[in-house]
């Protein structure tokens, strides 16, 4: 869970957040490229979550498996939800929605790492 994959996800999300908020500041709606970038980020998150779930079956369960599972579901659903909302809002505010989502995603990944590091005996 603490591997380079989660670091990559966090960095990608932060870079995208800066990009989307810049687009919003310039009064641009999410472009095709912006939406595709969010899809790529979502795919990265899917890989991250699959690796985390595989880790669950590989021993080393977090003490709080229920919370961990809840966060995994939220994390995997988060970017796709923002994508749907952003597509509904083809104005600058659609870019803000993507930007906010990309700011929240690192928090979710960090929380996942935190929960995963408290492994049950």
């Amino acid at each position: 869970m603490n591997g380079p994959l989660s670091v990559a996800t966090i960095i990608a999300a932060l870079v995208l957040a800066a990009w989307y908020l810049l687009r919003a500041a310039l009064d641009r709606a999410p472009s095709r490229f912006d939406l595709l970038a969010a899809v790529v980020l979502a795919a990265l998150v899917v890989v991250l979550v699959v690796v985390a779930v595989a880790g669950l079956f590989d021993g080393g369960r977090p003490a709080d498996t229920g919370t961990f599972a809840g966060y995994l579901i939220t994390t995997i659903a988060f970017v796709p939800t923002a994508l749907v909302l952003a597509k509904m809002e083809p104005t600058r505010w659609g870019s803000v929605i993507l930007g906010v989502a990309c700011l929240v995603l690192p928090v979710l990944v960090l929380r996942l790492q935190q929960i995963a590091s408290v492994t049950g005996a």
């Binding site: 229920g66 939220t74 909302l85 505010w93």
Partner: protein
């Protein structure tokens, strides 16, 4: 959004504008995270800090109410949003102050502990934005 739904929606409904939708997204995230957290706390270790966990649950309900109220708009949505945003503001200020002064009463964190520092202080800022939204869209 199709025309027929926007025609019947009150003009101050947050769902009807871009900025409002962003506000609803953030409120929705907090409604979800506060209530999910409370649910986990209450179902798994309620005895450890019943007061803090009940407060978490209440905070979650208040966020849900605020989200719904802001989304609906109109006189009723407005009143719901006004009441819940006010509770949020008072809650974050009182719990924030208490948790800084005396850690003993709040051994486990709620969304409002330390003025919401665990959530990037967003819980402190959010009620102000909610109240600003209500104020900006007050009826003529």
């Amino acid at each position: 959004m199709p025309e027929e739904t926007t025609a019947t929606r009150p003009s101050d409904a947050a769902l009807g504008s871009g900025l409002g939708r962003v506000l609803l997204l953030v409120y929705g995230i907090f409604a979800l995270s506060a209530s999910a957290r409370a649910l986990v706390q209450i179902t798994t270790h309620f005895d450890e800090a019943p007061l803090a966990y009940l407060l978490s649950a209440m905070a979650g309900l208040v966020y849900i109410a605020a989200t719904v109220g802001l989304a609906r708009g109109g006189p009723r949505g407005r009143r719901i949003a006004l009441i819940s945003c006010t509770i949020e503001l008072i809650g974050v200020l009182i719990i924030g102050t208490l948790s800084v002064l005396d850690k003993g009463d709040f051994p486990d964190a709620t969304v409002w502990s330390n003025f919401g520092s665990g959530y990037g202080y967003v819980p402190l800022v959010l009620p102000f934005i909610g109240l600003w939204w209500i104020w900006r869209h007050k009826p003529e």
